[in-house]
Symmetry: C2
Subunit: 439 residues, 2 copies
């Protein structure tokens, strides 16, 4: 059987564009009631029984039977040994990627993650103190989709933020460990690592057990059980966004080789059948060229079947009236990854209001950003770039307001505060301010 990938062709000039466009974008994050209930039960059980429950679920779900929690901890020596077992090229690539990711996040911290304060004319000091979280948990999926790059992308910003303890959890079904994942944990400076996963790992991190220390925030991707568990423990601990399927949107003016764009669309589609690859372009002949490249390149791809399913089911090649219109449609989608594949990317970039990461120019393939350009590859999906941001140093910091009112300042502020407090019927608030008045 020959695999065919023909993403739907749409045109913004067509009468039915709006309906077709919305239908193609639709993706429902609706939760499954049965999963919700099982996750609620697991969380409650781990909260009460701690380590014993974690051991039980690990035996049941990961087919990993051990008799004590020590057997579920990876030592620093094991992480180091995994790193040293790798071929030199992989070791070097891992370290080069880590170094670039670290540099970018250090710049991020310096640009917008430092404490500040000022004094106003009344001598009142106002400011913002920025501090790292004490301890965070990083969830790393195991099994088929084991991504060492995700270890770097989650652990390094935490490290740069100044988090003292980074606890990694990674399920190892039937005890199978992924050397690259362990090596990445070594390179990224993970403090402790446990071979547990699923809702039970999220519960252990959120509530703490005799062995697993309770953390302040949990980040990292996972399956539906992990996502449901993270949603439920939100409030007890912080969490990052719950990720939907991955997406790429390529905004092309026709100046990039069509093969490159086709491969960039593939590189998103190969993740998952639900992944979404969209091309927006004002040049119909170029869209034809990309479709031709897709058809020609597909058979050589090892993951051709997933790519075809993703492109046929969720992909789209959209002909627009202009690059300006393409930018407007991109803003409606608010894509996770946006390539501005143009020879004048800085002309279009200012028109982009919503996107997780923006890749400028023909040489900036998304895959460079996924692994080693430096910025984080954990990005808002499913249109959430309208209101959320890439994972960053700021996710591992929090702010405290600083206020120091002088005696002179209290005379001015006290009267304003008292007036408003009486207006709200909060008399103790008013009197606390008035007590500080001298006259």
């Amino acid at each position: 059987m020959t695999l065919v990938a023909t993403p739907v062709r749409l045109s913004t000039s067509a009468a039915n564009f709006e309906a077709d466009f919305k239908a193609r974008l639709h993706w429902s994050a609706d939760t499954d009631a049965a999963i919700e209930q099982r996750v609620a039960d697991i969380l409650a059980d781990v909260k009460v029984r701690g380590d014993a429950a974690v051991l039980d679920y690990t035996a049941r779900f990961d087919a990993l039977e051990v008799f004590d929690m020590n057997s579920l901890e990876l030592t620093q020596a094991e992480l180091k040994a995994a790193f040293e077992s790798l071929p030199t090229a992989q070791r070097d690539a891992l370290q080069a990627a880590a170094s670039r990711v670290r540099s970018y996040h250090q710049a991020q911290k310096k640009a917008s993650g430092e404490s500040w304060s000022y004094k106003d004319e009344d001598g009142t000091l106002l400011g913002q103190k920025v501090t790292p979280l004490d301890r965070v948990g990083i969830y790393v999926p195991g099994g088929k989709a084991a991504y060492p790059s995700s270890v770097l992308m989650n652990a390094i910003p935490a490290h740069v933020a100044g988090v003292a303890e980074i606890i990694m959890v990674v399920p190892t079904p039937r005890g199978e460990k992924n050397a690259l994942v362990l090596a990445a944990a070594y390179v990224a400076g993970v403090s402790r690592a446990f071979t547990i996963g699923g809702a039970q790992a999220v519960a252990a991190l959120a509530y703490g057990t005799a062995t697993i220390p309770a953390v302040d925030k949990i980040t990292g991707p996972g399956n539906a059980y992990v996502a449901a568990a993270k949603r439920r423990v939100f409030g007890t601990v912080g969490i990052d966004m719950i990720a939907g399927p991955s997406e790429i949107l390529v905004l092309a003016d026709g100046s990039t080789p069509a093969d490159w764009v086709a491969m960039d669309l593939f590189s998103q589609a190969e993740h998952d059948e639900l992944a979404q690859s969209i091309l927006l372009c004002p040049d119909a002949a170029y869209i034809d060229a990309v479709q031709e490249a897709i058809t020609r390149l597909l058979p050589s791809m090892p993951r051709a079947e997933i790519i075809a399913k993703s492109l046929n089911g969720r992909g789209a090649l959209i002909h627009t009236r202009s690059m300006q219109e393409a930018c407007e449609i991109s803003n409606r989608i608010a894509p996770e990854h946006l390539e501005i594949s143009s020879n004048e990317p800085h002309r279009w970039e200012p028109l982009i209001r919503h996107a997780g990461a923006i890749f400028l120019g023909a040489y900036t393939s998304e895959s460079l950003g996924d692994y080693c350009a430096g910025p984080n590859h954990v990005l808002p999906t499913s249109g959430t770039a309208r209101f959320s941001s890439p994972l960053g140093v700021y996710d591992f910091q929090k702010r405290s307001s600083l206020i120091e009112v002088s005696q002179a300042g209290a005379q001015i502020l006290g009267k304003i505060a008292a007036e408003l407090a009486y207006g709200e019927g909060l008399q103790a608030h008013a009197m606390a301010a008035e007590m500080r008045l001298i006259d």
Copy 2:
């Protein structure tokens, strides 16, 4: 009946301190299954029936029967008229508070909310683009606990961030409008305002109706229905933290008049029976003086009954071995409001790792910060200051990573990315990088 308020006395030297301390801190945010189900039904109904459902629920829950959505919109002229109807002192106080809140948030934006970029040695441009959200919704509670100051604290940071449209919703049970709330909306520059509330208002903002525009994020406090609705729409839109009861922790070295500290404890307790006021102090005689002030001042307080219930049920006066130990205990609590009521506040402030807002010195009563010092009064509660921050300009902005790899840069990064992509079994990722290699 004479009201008595005697917060429990604890001592860190006592054998049972740990257990008593934990018992006192305990507060459960557990959700009510019946409320959850009713909220799920309301959300689903508004999603399908839009305005018609909003009109029905407003009639049912707010006893406000109108025949079209226009009647539920407050015009700009109404907001302005409400402002002009206020006594001069209230008008001036509202404007002075708004002006100070605006200045602080402008400083916040300038210090840490601007875009940045740099080029690395390979000519690769890396950066972070900061953009405002397009449209946000602000929930303002109606009825008894109507707080105009909350309108300022939610709307002004959104405005400073550059949000183009700020949509306020405020229930007006039986049509009763609070002039101060409407005036605050006028002063803060709210774009549109609707007299709707509850889960139906959250649903309308999240999904949009024919009349109410869909927003990108919803902030602001509300009752259990509003909180449950916000939790459920999280992902479709952004939300701020779900707030628990308000808390104050006073760290005292005994140098502040005891009456002032007593009134500061009252000003938290008067909010709500579940509010928590805690004093930490190494000086037992000073704790006695504060208890004496509590007993003496309580009868004169208009909200004495709520204050007494809060202090008796959840308050605590804790005797510590030292100020250092008091700081450590404060870090375990991670309070929403922390007063360092000391004549050397800058000695202790560096020891504080977790707190929503830190009030330094005897003159800085929490109530000054609540209304007009400038920093936001929407703060993380229930220990969530361990991982979250005051509401701020950053909550109304999001970031996009910027990456522009030069042809030269692609030669270096492409090899690293390809190595790691093959290691993860993602061949299209690897080939997208390799296609950009010249040799």
